[in-house]
Amino acid sequence: MSEPILTATGVTIGFPVKRGIIFQREVARVQAVDGVDLTLHQGETLAIVGESGCGKTTLARGLVRLRDIDAGSIAFMGEDITRHRGRALNDFRRQVTMIFQDPIASLDPRMRIGQSMQEPLDIHSIGTPAERKHKVQEAMERVGLNPEHYNRFPHEFSGGQRQRIGIARAIILEPRVIVCDEPVSALDVSVQAQIVNLLEDLQRDLGLSYIVIAHDLDVVRRLADRVQVMYLGRVVEQGAGEQVYNHPRHPYSKALLSARPIADPKLARSRERIVLHGDVPSPSNPPSGCRFHPRCPVAQASCSAHDPQLEVAADGHGWACTYPLAP
């Protein structure tokens, strides 16, 4: 396997819980991400999946240093960047960029799209104004936008085109890694396919590595080489796409997979399905023992006391469960 390009070790990110109106004091911390390890290799796609509130977006923001992390470390190409500031942080941000879920919210409605896409070049003072414009138009062409639309405003574009603008802005700095936070979940299915194909083309042509945050397991299956399943701030299972999808060992992964609607009425009626009951518990007061045990269909008495740790086998498949499912 190729070199790791981005690694995270024991990353923990918390949010303060505050009390008081004028003199706010921190009374507790909610651990949104709790000791997550992750390794992204050169040229691969790593997906992070889980329900809302599992900490996947917080983790993504921590990885690109949009949020400070409380504990643990992040290394990019072997260099610890956890405490980088100023110029060093800027250099890191040239190499690792982000695509957001909602292309409308992430574009300034009063800024021409050419300007929006050029902004990263301005910030990092790359090239002359003419070169910058040329670079933007090149990027527009690459993502399938008409370069003549350089001077248009975001509202003149459809959802899929806006997501292409977001992608063009993410590749303009020629990064090594792009963190994609729900890149297609706001799009229609036929447009989704266009964006998925575009992301795959860019990866092949530009040698990019992706971290994809998504809740749509079918899109993940399509894009990802490896998958990490998160529940309440922790990784509960990880492995190659084939391992996690075809032989899930953690009951939560299995439940997530079986909850997907299947676009085949006969199969949908005949398959066995695990419907999880209840909601994800609040991370401010996680259950004792295994965090999944109150919703787990195969929980045993000891699960409420023993907190299983993620153990990864030599083949890269790992799970955090005392009573894993048969492969």
């Binding site: 809302s52 299915v189 676009a263 199969l267």
Partner: protein, 337 residues
């Protein structure tokens, strides 16, 4: 006997740039105890159609055609009469339960209001009905929940409250507009299971509007595929997946990421849907259709015609043999292929 029969529905919005026909001659019907799915992408007119049925469109919209619900003709019905029907005979569930619940009123207050608007009952009886309603949609300790505010509930719980509210007055028709789109897959599975159970219990007709073919396969009995304001194909759910007839339906099926094999490019429908301000002549899908012929690009547009040997109707100029051959490539696998 169909409960809801829509015939030749045309919904036109007046805009500063001229009229926009969001729904253009749609006909469909749904019987009690049946779930009709309406599938299509954003802007295809599926929400405009459901709002036409509910009579919830702004004054800038004109609705023509016929919407027959039981003995009531909804097109041209005075607003005051429509208001008494809404919430009692017809109810609607929206995509985002947070914006459809009042954030400053308790769940109990909102449920009791819905009961007392339509039924002459005492406060105590309304409360009992509200508790029963919450229990029916699987909300634990419903009596305590009456005192909570919407923000205290999770997304799935809020959607359950919305469904409970919609069912309080035993509607005969329930319109669900993207009821699970804002939810996680595990919660979506719970809500879909709930809808399936309710269908048999309350004996209401359900119109389910969605963009997700997976959701359609899970709960619907019949499906109508909409494109640019028109229905292009209507079929029983098994038929649609086993023998899809319209090229747009093929495109939708093939775009599903779960269906492709690794290494294979995901099928994409070229281009994007047309503007309804100035729709293309002839078949509206023709500009994006790989199999379009000259006849497709000229008026008159193909009309819905039944496919021999099935209950499917399709609006397409392709000859049946070609459609059967091409359609088989997009049919779902397993024994149905």
């Amino acid at each position: 006997m169909a409960l809801l029969t829509v015939e030749n529905l045309r919904t036109t919005f007046r805009t500063d740039d001229g009229p926009v026909c969001a729904v253009d001659g749609v006909s469909l019907s749904v019987a009690a105890g049946q779930v009709l799915g309406i599938v299509g992408e954003s802007g295809c007119g599926k929400s405009a159609m459901s709002l036409s049925i509910m009579g919830l469109l702004p004054d800038s919209a004109t609705v023509e055609g016929s919407i027959q619900l039981g003995e009531h003709q909804l097109v041209g019905m005075p607003k005051s009469e429509l208001r008494t029907l809404r919430g009692s005979e017809v109810a609607m569930i929206f995509q985002d339960p947070m914006t459809s619940l009042n954030p400053v009123m308790t769940i109990g207050w909102q449920l009791e209001e819905a009961v007392r608007l339509h039924q002459k009952v005492s406060k105590r009886e309304a409360r009992a009905l509200a508790v029963a309603g919450l229990a029916a949609v699987g909300i634990p300790s419903p009596e305590d929940r009456l005192k909570t505010y919407p923000h205290e509930l999770s997304g799935g719980m809020r959607q359950r409250v919305m469904i409970a509210m919609a069912l309080l007055n035993r509607p005969r028709l329930l319109i669900a507009d993207e009821p699970t789109t804002a939810l996680d897959v595990t919660t979506q599975a719970q809500i879909l299971e709930l809808l399936r159970d309710l269908r048999s219990e309350v004996d209401a007709a359900i119109v389910l509007i969605t963009h997700d073919l997976g959701v359609v396969a899970e709960v619907c009995d019949e499906v109508a595929v909409m494109y640019a304001g028109r229905i292009v194909e209507r079929a029983p759910v098994d038929e649609l997946f086993a023998r899809p007839q319209h090229p747009y339906t093929w495109g939708l099926l093939a775009s599903l990421p779960g269906r492709s094999r690794a290494g294979e490019r995901l099928h994409q429908i070229a281009g994007s849907p047309p503007s309804l301000m100035n729709p293309p002549a002839g078949c509206r899908f023709a500009p994006r259709c790989a199999m379009a012929m000259d006849v497709c690009r000229a008026d008159p547009a193909p009309v819905l015609a039944s496919v021999t040997g099935s209950d499917t109707v399709v609006a397409c100029h392709l000859d049946p043999a070609t459609r059967a051959r091409e359609g088989a490539r997009f049919a779902s696998g397993g024994e149905s292929a």
